[in-house]
């Protein structure tokens, strides 16, 4: 086997990492109209929402890297307290249904968010 399982052993001098999937109960994507894709992360509790907001866990540089887009194509990152959620809206790579479309509803573009980690 070439692959080894990554164990989360804290190394001296390094901060332990936490995964977004430990603190979020919903991570999803969807069109917001034919020209925008909107990504939601809904946290499990107010504490986890506040923790991630205070640490700026979701930021333009990260989204730009995860989705391979320039920051100018990020319409906004909005922390929405009433739902303990952060919403990221980005430009759709093409308008919904244009030639080359892969996901008309934009409902399966959330996977890169699942790998987000942050310092505990």
């Amino acid at each position: 086997m070439s692959k080894t399982t990554k164990k989360r052993v804290p190394v001296a001098g390094q901060t332990a990492k936490r995964r977004i999937t430990e603190v979020a109960r919903v991570i999803r994507s969807k069109n917001s109209g034919p020209y925008e894709l909107t990504l939601d992360i809904i946290f499990r509790s107010r504490e986890e929402f506040e923790l991630c907001r205070s640490k700026d866990v979701v930021n333009p540089a990260l989204i730009s890297k995860l989705y391979r887009i320039p920051e100018s194509e990020i319409l906004g990152i909005i922390w929405f307290e009433p739902a303990h959620a952060v919403k990221i809206t980005i430009k759709r790579w093409i308008a919904s249904g244009d030639p080359g479309e892969t996901d008309i509803y934009g409902a399966q573009q959330h996977a890169p968010l699942l790998g987000i980690e942050f310092d505990a």
Partner: protein
């Protein structure tokens, strides 16, 4: 103004269905209105272009039969928005015919208002010339050609035309493309209820039980509007509303959960509170309506870009899989070389599932290798015949292509179906997704039809 206004929302989209028990429970609460939204741009540009519904006729008729017979019997209005999904003339006619059948089969007596949402090209061109058209975020500026090439252009109407139709004595209102919350908010607003609360309630009700937990697109919910709040409740013991489920719903399909723009203004949620009430209910307070200085309608238009043919196949060969990025361009080059006069506008695309079929250019896992791949060949050409030809020649070329290092020489593709190629008909693209400034929010014509024991008298 009565003390409260109850609105029954049977389902998320007309034709998605709902349990009869939930609907009966809703009617027992003596609602003042039954509302339903039938539309979305989510299924893509095809449906507006082709004039077809993305929902099923039999189920639209089933849902509407419950709603209209119950509404007429109870003497309350029934408001249907975005008829037929995309809300252009063919969609409106389709839904209108269903209502005629229901009226006849059930011998119903009521007044129907039909409100088309189609906008004439002349009107859009005039607005364009006057600088009264502006694009939404990431949408290119509209051009005269975009307007002229459009197959259908609709505008999302607000509450005003629905209120006007009700003022003309209509009991059932069938609207073309319509701002979803307006189907639920127009009647209470006309009776003096707060517009911010009515619109926010409509925004949640238009998705049926999707905002409840567990969510469902096929169940009924009830909204009760009072002077300073609205209360959400489910009509099935299987689900409840919670402050979280209700608040999270404003995220759904929206760019900014604090500001929800629509015709003539926006719902502002910055001061909104969601409070849990006993019995799985939620009370919402503090949502405000902010009128815009000028009145804008959202236009939706599509134009035809050609005809599509696809072929679905798979490969399980590890050598072919390892070379797929080289093989596909080589096959395309060979195909274009063989075809005598391939039009430069003819497009050939490969969707490679198991590699980047879902995320395309945004796929971050560029070096992942699957043990099998699904390859969808897509040909997009000016005519169906040309698309069929391009797809067919590409399919046969790829099937027997002698790529370097090949040891499986009987055929490169596994087809799940015979026939392997599927003509998909006309293909469309969005040509307009812009705001148009208008002087009169009631610019939509209203056609009244009188039904007596199921018979139409115009």
């Amino acid at each position: 103004m009565s003390k409260e206004f109850r609105v029954l929302s049977p389902t998320a989209i007309l034709g998605y269905g709902f349990p009869e028990a939930s609907f009966k429970r809703g009617m027992e609460r003596k609602p003042h209105l039954i509302g339903v939204d039938a539309g979305s741009t989510d299924p893509g540009p095809y449906y507006l272009g082709a004039g077809k519904s993305f929902t099923n006729r039999a189920f639209v008729k089933r849902d509407l039969t419950y709603m209209i017979t119950a509404g007429v019997a109870a003497g309350i209005p029934v408001v249907i928005g975005s008829a037929g999904g995309s809300g252009a003339k063919p969609h409106l006619d389709w839904c209108h015919e269903i209502i005629r059948e229901i009226a006849k089969e059930n011998g119903l007596t009521f007044r129907l208002a039909v409100i088309p949402a189609d906008i004439e090209k002349k009107t859009v061109l005039e607005a364009l010339a006057k600088g009264r058209i502006q694009p939404l975020s990431f949408v290119p500026e509209a051009t005269v050609k975009d307007v002229e090439d459009s197959v259908h252009i609709v505008a999302q109407m607000g509450c005003e035309p629905i209120i006007k139709a009700l003022g003309m004595g209509a009991q059932v209102v069938l609207a073309g493309r319509c701002y979803d919350p307006a189907c639920f908010a127009a009647v209470p607003i006309s009776q003096g209820y707060d517009k911010g609360l009515a619109m926010h309630m409509g925004k949640i009700l238009e998705c049926g039980a999707i905002a409840a937990t567990p969510g469902s697109g096929a169940d009924c919910v009830l909204g009760t509007l009072t002077a300073d709040s609205f209360i959400l409740e489910t009509l099935s013991d299987k689900r409840v509303f919670t402050p979280m489920s209700s608040a999270a719903h404003t995220l759904y399909e929206k760019s900014d959960p604090y500001h929800l723009p629509g015709p003539g203004g926006a719902i502002n949620l910055t001061g909104t509170s969601f409070t849990e009430l006993p019995g799985g209910r939620v009370e919402v307070k503090g949502s405000r309506y902010e009128k815009t200085e000028r009145y804008f309608l959202k236009l939706e238009g599509v134009r035809k870009i050609g005809y599509r043919t696809v072929s679905i196949a798979g490969t399980r060969d590890p050598i072919m899989i390892s070379k797929i990025d080289e093989i596909l361009p080589q096959v395309e080059a060979q195909v274009r070389g063989m075809m005598k006069s391939p039009s430069p506008t003819d497009r050939l695309m490969f969707h490679v599932y198991g590699k980047n079929g879902v995320m395309g250019v945004m796929e971050p896992l560029s070096d992942a290798v699957s043990h099998e791949l699904c390859i969808i060949i897509e040909a997009l050409c000016a005519t169906q015949e040309a698309a069929d030809t391009l797809c067919s020649v590409t399919r046969s070329t790829l099937l027997h292509y002698g790529y370097e290092g090949r040891i499986s020489t009987a055929g490169n593709l596994a087809f799940p179906f015979s026939p392997s190629d599927v003509p998909m008909g006309a293909t469309y693209t969005f040509s307009l997704y812009h705001l148009m400034e208008v002087d009169d929010p009631c610019m939509f014509p209203i056609n009244i039809e009188e039904y007596t024991n199921g018979e139409v008298r115009k």
